[in-house]
Symmetry: C3
Subunit: 270 residues, 3 copies
């Protein structure tokens, strides 16, 4: 028997407009009644593995110890593997398709100590007739069985951690004194998080040129929203420790016309 868990955290792209998330919660409740379900989010854009992986890694440091299910799976029905990844010396297990979704979070947690492919038919739900809906029929039941003390090894054969599909976190590069960056995430307020660590901007000064497509703006380094004048574009360390483009009580993303994945160039003013 492995160590029993009592929390299952869920992140998927299935939305909340119909009964599907309720079904996932019910499957946990039926198999492992003692486990508490925490919805991280179900509104990852459909099939967007990169956005799902980024949301998971932002959440990772805050998640309760237990089992985390990642259900963003454009390859459902193909031969891609579904896996369970043990991290943190057994403190938590991440379960999902082997498509890079879990990789950034696994990495943040210090890497995998054990990985198995979820092949055990005994720990799945029987199919309702058509093809398997992996999140409902394989991933969530596996998570619930782990909460009941089933050991990882019972869920399927061991997999070499180095064989897993890597994550898709984009890296910056410097070209002709321009930092070529990318929008990782836009929150509900229109703050646009970049893949830029504060250290990468050392030496750029307090005012930076921001280039998006053919448009150029000046952004002011700010410590808090309140230090920005109305309408003034700011660049600040956000609450995750990365650089974000922001407006005070306004949407920087709308102002600049940017969304996740958009390239953003940062440079010192000429």
């Amino acid at each position: 028997m492995g160590q029993p868990f009592d929390t299952v955290s869920l992140l998927t792209d299935i939305g909340t407009a119909d009964e599907q998330v309720g079904v996932l919660r019910s499957v946990v409740r039926s198999i492992a009644p003692h486990a508490v379900v925490i919805d991280i989010t179900h509104e990852v854009a459909p099939y967007d593995v990169r956005a799902g992986g980024l949301a998971l890694v932002r959440a990772a440091q805050y998640l309760a110890a237990g089992v985390v299910v990642g259900g963003v799976d454009p390859g459902g029905g193909t031969s891609r593997r579904v896996i369970a990844v043990e991290v943190g010396a057994g403190q938590s297990v991440l379960v999902g398709p082997d498509n890079g979704l879990l990789a950034p979070a696994v990495s943040l947690c210090g890497g995998a100590s054990r990985v198995v492919e979820l092949r055990s038919l005994e720990h799945r739900l029987p199919s309702a007739g058509g093809p398997t809906f992996a999140t409902r029929d394989i991933l969530v039941p596996a998570a619930a069985h782990l909460c009941n003390g089933v050991d990882l090894a019972e869920l399927g054969p061991a997999v070499d951690p180095f064989s897993l599909v890597p994550g898709l976190v984009p890296l910056t590069r410097v070209e002709d004194e321009v930092l070529k960056a990318e929008v990782l995430w836009v929150d509900r307020f229109g703050n646009a998080q970049l893949n830029v660590d504060p250290d990468e901007l050392k030496g750029f000064g307090d005012r930076l040129t921001v280039t998006v497509g053919s448009a150029t703006r000046t952004a002011t380094a700010a410590v808090t929203f309140a230090s920005l004048a109305p309408g003034q574009l700011g660049l600040m360390v956000d609450s995750y420790g990365l650089m974000s483009l922001v407006l005070d009580r306004g949407s920087a993303a709308d102002e600049l016309g940017i969304s996740p994945g958009a390239p953003v160039d940062l440079s010192a003013p000429k």
Copy 2:
């Protein structure tokens, strides 16, 4: 005393944009602190009893034993009854308006063993002044009291199960070798579930003509999404065991311009 339950599953059309769902959860927590609340969904289209009933029956086979509350109630304030329906030899109770919402799920569970009309004033919340909001003031409190071991019979007088309003699940029919079907549900990915059992398509072959309004398309019988070429319309058994019109990583519903309730004709190619 009846058998106490410890799970309350909720399905309503009240949305999550304001505090109303939080109020329902709080009412359960205040009356029956031990009960776990599972939100099936709260985003049934306003007043859409048919869509709510279909979501409930899709979820039914997965729900944890306990009390299920269905709150889609366009007749609030009229003389329609509100009822509690015991199914599965007392394993679960469905609570809701007697407007057909619960009927498909009750039927799937093998029919009602006992039904009562929720008339007991003692098991309601007092009105805040205006008319009763049935989901908050009658249905959810009844569910919570059932979790505390209150017997169905204490909640109101027995009702003849055969007097209940029937459900609205549409049936197919065959006309001139054409299977006249209907869209039941479109999921977040644009897959369009039809009211068609795989058996009904025996003899139609691997390629079918799909007629929506005046437009005609060919759909290919597919086992998995991955077996479809990009842009190729597929017809596959979905994860609920019904036939769905699908595209691989695309929205079949958008492509065909269909939404729930739309008529779809299926036939063998001429």
Copy 3:
């Protein structure tokens, strides 16, 4: 040690499209595993303190005893205080920014018995690098510590309840026999709640003139939706005990072109 609580109810404006609400739930789970989290709503319009305060006061009478977190905080990063307010002889504590958000609910609960400013660094989460995200780093951890029996006094210095920023609930006034009212809230069905108590309409009769901008309509006093003819505008006591403009199975808000904050004049027909 104070009295330990076991329920944390959350109301914020951060939406559910990303992982942030999941992070709040996880923070509670990590610090106070026994506490049940109830999401009141996370879809208050961004920065809308008034709408958040109104949703909280509508919910207040139904909330389970425990800790309530209000996270609508346009002044994040300024010198505004974050506070914890004990109400109901210690039965519940409301936690949030001192910007008027909590004030209407505190008032409904009979006023504050104790207030502290949340200054204890020991009961916060460490910052991830940038500025503090108060809801995640201060408010929710404080709520979880209260659930563990930490006394209010340990969280920071006492604050004079009379120094708190007041709420923003708008009052009606009568001018030339016209009741000048305002829309407080529009629910998912388009019912428009006004800041009007039924008593204020005594003597206005069963048919009222409703003026919105330059448009005038007649509204009929109704007891239930079902007593209205199709398309007939009604004015009825809603399930919160306030007057609402309604249509039977239609959106009064769309019909009249009104949203929260819109002025509405009510008068007897000439």
